[in-house]
């Protein structure tokens, strides 16, 4: 084969260009920490990264939703415990008032405590979290329970509705976070009013003790429901945290540079490049003219 000077230099330029290209690519992978920065460098990898990052963003959102649900359900639980304590105290007072040794005067003073309990109970029913009333259904910007008449107040009004507030906790999965307690609470408050009125009139509370027992059952049921939901929230949170971890591990495996491999690639690319330079420098310089006299 006939080799000319131009072929040698063209060849050298072509190969050096390819070597620098390879060198620059490995160098970029190491300095950016990413195996690719454009779809064309690894179409499948990029497609995976896009899917994974969208899924990670979605999972983060689910986790935020769950945090929010947890706060809401926790507040609901506290409110229900408070109400249960109030009803238990009212029941004690009702039993006390039923005692035959009680005078009408004594009963009137018990009525005063029941009045306090009523106000506390209504306040608890109007518990709000971040400006949203827990027991108002969708009417979260209005206090759900108002007392009117009197004083002492004689009527309870429920201003809320039966709206179920949902949180999305997974693809196609949602969870109702508010308790549908409007009617239950209203009845409870009315029972307290009637207990107060009975005692205030100096009479013995009769069936009201049984009604309070029924309310305790009702509260327990609501409490159990909130507890079960809280349980589900916690389990889902654990599961999603695990998924989040897997997603980021998978993403890292897809797009992050394997530094040890890349370092070896870099070294080999450097060697090839330097060898090319050295050989090129030797080959393109001399010609026969150097040796003629």
């Amino acid at each position: 084969m006939r080799i000319t000077n131009r072929m040698l230099s063209d060849d050298l330029i072509y190969n050096l260009r390819r070597n620098t290209e390879r060198l620059s690519k490995v160098q970029q992978q190491i300095s950016s920490g990413k195996r690719f920065t454009r779809p064309s460098e690894d179409p499948t990898g990029v497609s995976q990264v896009l899917t994974l990052s969208a899924e990670a963003a979605r999972t983060d959102q689910y986790l935020r939703n769950l945090d929010n649900a947890k706060a809401w359900l926790g507040a609901t639980d506290t409110a229900l415990s408070d109400l249960t304590a109030i009803v238990q105290r009212a029941r004690e007072l009702a039993l006390q008032g039923s005692n035959d040794t009680m005078s009408a005067e004594d009963r009137r003073s018990i009525a005063k405590e029941v009045e306090q309990l009523l106000e506390h109970a209504v306040q608890t029913g109007n518990t709000a979290l971040g400006g949203q009333y827990l027991f108002a259904g969708f009417q979260t910007d209005t206090a759900p329970f108002t007392l009117s008449g009197g004083p002492p107040p004689t009527t309870v009004t429920y201003n809320g509705d039966n709206g179920e507030i949902q949180r999305t906790i997974g693809p196609g999965q949602s969870l109702t976070i508010n308790s549908q307690a409007g009617a239950e609470f209203k009845a409870l408050f009315e029972t307290l009013i009637s207990l107060r009125d009975t005692l205030d009139a100096g009479n013995r509370p009769g069936s009201q003790v049984n009604v309070l027992d029924a309310h305790l059952d009702g509260l327990l049921e609501l409490s159990t429901q909130a507890g079960a939901r809280l349980n589900r929230v916690e389990m889902t949170t654990d599961r999603l945290n695990e998924i989040k971890l897997n997603l980021s591990a998978l993403r890292s495996a897809t797009e992050d540079t394997q530094v040890d491999e890349a370092a070896i690639d870099l070294m080999s690319a450097q060697n090839v490049y330097q060898a090319g330079l050295a050989a090129g420098a030797k080959v393109i310089q001399p010609s026969l003219l150097d040796y003629l006299r």
Binding site: M1, R2, I3, T4, N5, R6, M7, D10, D11, Y14, T37, R38, P39, S40, E41, D42, P43, T44, V46, S47, V49, L50, T51, S53, A54, A57, R58, D60, Q61, R64, N65, N68, G130, G131, Q132, Y133, A136, G137, F138, Q139, T140, D141, D161, G163, I165, Q166, R167, T168, P171, G172, S174, E255, S287, L288, L289, L292
Partner: protein, 473 residues
């Protein structure tokens, strides 16, 4: 009988031939790095011997040589390699321009990154969930408005950049047509010169080199076929019609077509008939302008249309904090959604109009916002097989495949062209070592011929000045 002076003539021929050959070596060395230059060599042959056979021939022992002559200056060129090289460079420049422009388009999508459409879509859907979680929170609604505006902005700017790129490609098509015309004109002019030189029996080597270089350049731009006529002129045709014939050329024209958004349509200037381009850089540019880039824009548009339709349909069904209902969330001109998508003015003006609730007067109800957020998972594209996000991800993946395919093809063609260029150099390239050797060969020949003249001179001196001196004192 031969003349005593015949050998002087022979030596003179040798001197002249060596000098001639040295000039050729000189020319080769001078043009060792000239693009398109093919090495040349002086072809020597022995002149006719003496005597020629005839009855009245000189009565000498046998034929004696009379020296050397330069027959021609030969140009080393392999036409077959030229043909192959031109075919492969045509394909190389087509793929190269495709790769360049597609890579440009790929950059406009900013994937994978936090600034791309994929991330903007995620933020948009998540904002809807946040509004669903806290429908009464004005800050959360404002965040949704910002993220929606951002999403619309990303779609619009990507689309308009693709439009600008397409316009650039169209401009380039116009420039390439001018370039083709200029090359054709220069080739036609060279044809004229070459025919003239050849008609008087000379080899127009350097003119041929120039013409071959122009044909090389032309073959990168457009698919040509060519033949050389017996007079030495090169006939070049595109799509079966002569672009260059003898000293004439027929220019091409890029005419803005009002029926096609004033994009250039390519024709023969002579009669306005359509030009069909099958290869070369021009073919690459035409495919980009008419297929690849509009395809990307159509895909973006399809996605934007689905986004607008789905979000608006769900949004119209809901109620805002202020009781607003049956309102669109996005506005867009039907048919060109990607270019016109924007958050509806009513929403932009008052975030309370964002329809988060399924029923009126339910401020705590975020279920409609959650329903809109759920569109992210719904397979509403490609005949119910892909979600909006999935459709976009598949598109980016396809774009990546297209770019990497163009890159692989370019690399392959580059290797082929490199190899063929080497083969061409093998035939036509100047080797300085060879020239140095020739330099010495012809220099020595010249020196020896000069010595011959001196020798003959001394011999004649003997005969003329020293013979027949008998009787002189």
């Amino acid at each position: 009988m031969r003349s005593s002076f015949a050998d002087l003539n022979t030596a003179m021929r040798a001197l002249m031939a060596s000098q001639y050959a040295l000039s050729v070596v000189n020319h080769n060395i001078s043009n060792a790095n000239t693009e398109g230059y093919s090495r040349q060599a002086a072809k020597l042959s022995a002149t006719e011997a003496f005597p020629i056979p005839a009855f009245n021939r000189a009565a000498i022992v046998g034929q004696l040589g009379t020296g050397v002559q330069v027959d021609m200056i030969q140009r080393y060129r392999n036409d077959f390699v030229d043909l192959q090289l031109r075919t492969e460079s045509e394909s190389l420049s087509q793929w190269k321009v495709t790769q360049d422009i597609l890579q440009q388009a790929e950059l406009y999508f900013h994937e994978p990154s936090e600034n791309g459409l994929n991330a903007a879509l995620s933020r948009f859907w998540n904002s809807w969930t946040e509004v669903g979680n806290s429908p009464q929170d004005v800050a959360v609604r404002q965040a949704l408005r910002e993220n929606a505006t951002d999403l619309a902005g990303v779609i619009k700017s990507t689309y308009s950049r693709l439009s600008a790129l397409r316009a650039d490609v169209n401009d380039q098509i116009g420039l390439k047509v001018q370039e083709i015309n200029s090359l054709a004109e220069r080739i036609a002019a060279l044809n004229g010169q070459i025919v003239k030189v050849q008609s008087i029996g000379y080899q127009p080597n350097d003119l041929r080199d120039q013409r071959d270089l122009l044909v090389d350049q032309l073959s990168q731009l457009i698919d040509i076929s060519y033949t050389e006529t017996s007079t030495g002129a090169m006939a070049i045709s595109v799509g079966g019609r002569n672009l260059v014939f003898n000293q004439e050329y027929r220019p091409l024209a890029a005419v803005p077509d009002p029926a096609n958004g004033n994009l250039y349509s390519l024709q023969w200037q002579e009669d306005g008939s359509a030009l069909t381009v099958m290869g070369g850089e021009l073919k690459g540019l035409l495919d980009l302008r008419d297929v690849s880039l509009p395809g990307m824009q159509a895909t973006l548009n399809e996605m934007a249309a689905a986004l607008v339709a789905q979000v608006n349909a769900a949004h119209r069904a809901g109620y805002g904090l202020n009781g607003a209902t049956a309102q669109d969330f996005f506005t867009a001109t039907p048919g060109s959604e990607a270019a016109t998508i924007a958050v509806a003015p009513a929403i932009a003006a008052d975030v309370a109009s964002i329809a988060s609730a399924t029923s009126a007067d339910a401020p705590g109800d975020g279920s409609n916002a959650l329903a809109i957020a759920a569109i992210q998972q719904q397979k509403v594209m490609s005949g119910g097989t892909a979600s909006i996000d999935g459709f976009y991800q598949a598109f980016i993946s396809q774009l990546g495949v297209d770019v990497s395919n163009a890159k692989a093809m370019t690399d392959n063609q580059q290797v082929l062209v490199q190899q063929l260029t080497q083969r061409k150099q093998e035939e036509s390239g100047v080797s300085l070592d060879e020239e140095a050797i020739d330099l010495i060969r012809y220099q020595r020949a010249y020196q020896a011929a000069s010595r011959m003249v001196t020798t003959i001179d001394e011999m004649l001196d003997q005969v003329i000045n020293r013979m027949g001196l008998v009787g002189r004192s």
